[in-house]
């Protein structure tokens, strides 16, 4: 079974530029998460989708961050304009709510450096 795919793996941008990250979850997984992990900290949930609807975006800085999940499959996370404090790893995860639906699977992450 293919895992959660993310791209790009690494990105360096200047502050005030924009960046977009892409995630392809495990096939059939209805729930998709974007987490932000700053160096030395635990992951922090930015947004959670159930199919193509948002169920939690309470910690998403909506003035600069946006995310969408078209057709309930792939998702993109965009940052515009980026700030220095956005330097972090952006982790996508997915989850199946079926019989074995209590395990969350993470992608390898997209590492963002804002200079």
């Amino acid at each position: 079974e293919a895992g959660v795919a993310q791209s790009p793996r690494y990105k360096i941008i200047e502050k005030r530029q924009s960046v977009a990250f892409w995630c392809n979850p495990i096939s059939g997984h209805a729930t998709l998460y974007w987490y932000q992990q700053i160096l030395g900290q635990g992951p922090k949930l930015l947004i959670q989708f159930q199919n193509n609807g948002v169920v939690d975006d309470s910690q998403l800085p909506k003035d600069r961050f946006s995310a969408e999940r078209l057709k309930g499959v792939d998702s993109t996370l965009k940052i515009q304009p980026a700030k220095l404090e956005d330097s972090a790893v952006y982790l996508c995860a997915s989850r199946d709510w079926g019989a074995s639906g209590n395990t969350i699977y993470f992608g390898e992450g997209s590492w963002l450096t804002v200079v």
Binding site: Q41, G42, P43, K44, V89, F106, W111
Partner: protein, 110 residues
């Protein structure tokens, strides 16, 4: 909001030693998972354990939900166990968003 506290924050072991990592949480949860983040950043699920005890090889975990804590045991540690161990809890109700602790950084030396 719910608080998730992990201890110790850092741990250094000699290969072959045993260790216990602790996770305390401040509210009732219906989901608790332990993850290992390897040095390349990949998060791997170790256990889904909202209550009770589970074992997988050299690793085992116990959650006492009524007392709001969970323990992760690592026996006969190996250098490949190095990395960061995270506890994450899910709140009752809703779509069960996972809240992560700050992690325990483990270094196992040969």
């Amino acid at each position: 909001g719910i608080q998730v506290e992990q201890s110790p924050p850092d741990l250094i072991l000699q290969e072959g030693a045993n260790s216990t990592l602790r996770c305390n949480f401040s509210d009732s949860v219906n989901n608790l998972q332990w993850f290992h983040q390897n040095p390349w950043g990949q998060l791997i699920n170790l256990f889904y354990i909202p209550s009770g005890t589970k074992q997988n090889g050299r690793l085992s975990a116990t959650t006492v939900a009524t007392e709001r804590y969970s323990l992760l045991y690592i026996s006969s540690s190996q250098t490949t166990d190095s990395g960061v161990y995270f506890c994450a809890v899910g709140l009752s109700g809703g779509y069960n968003k996972l809240i992560f602790g700050a992690g325990t950084r483990l270094a196992v030396h040969p």
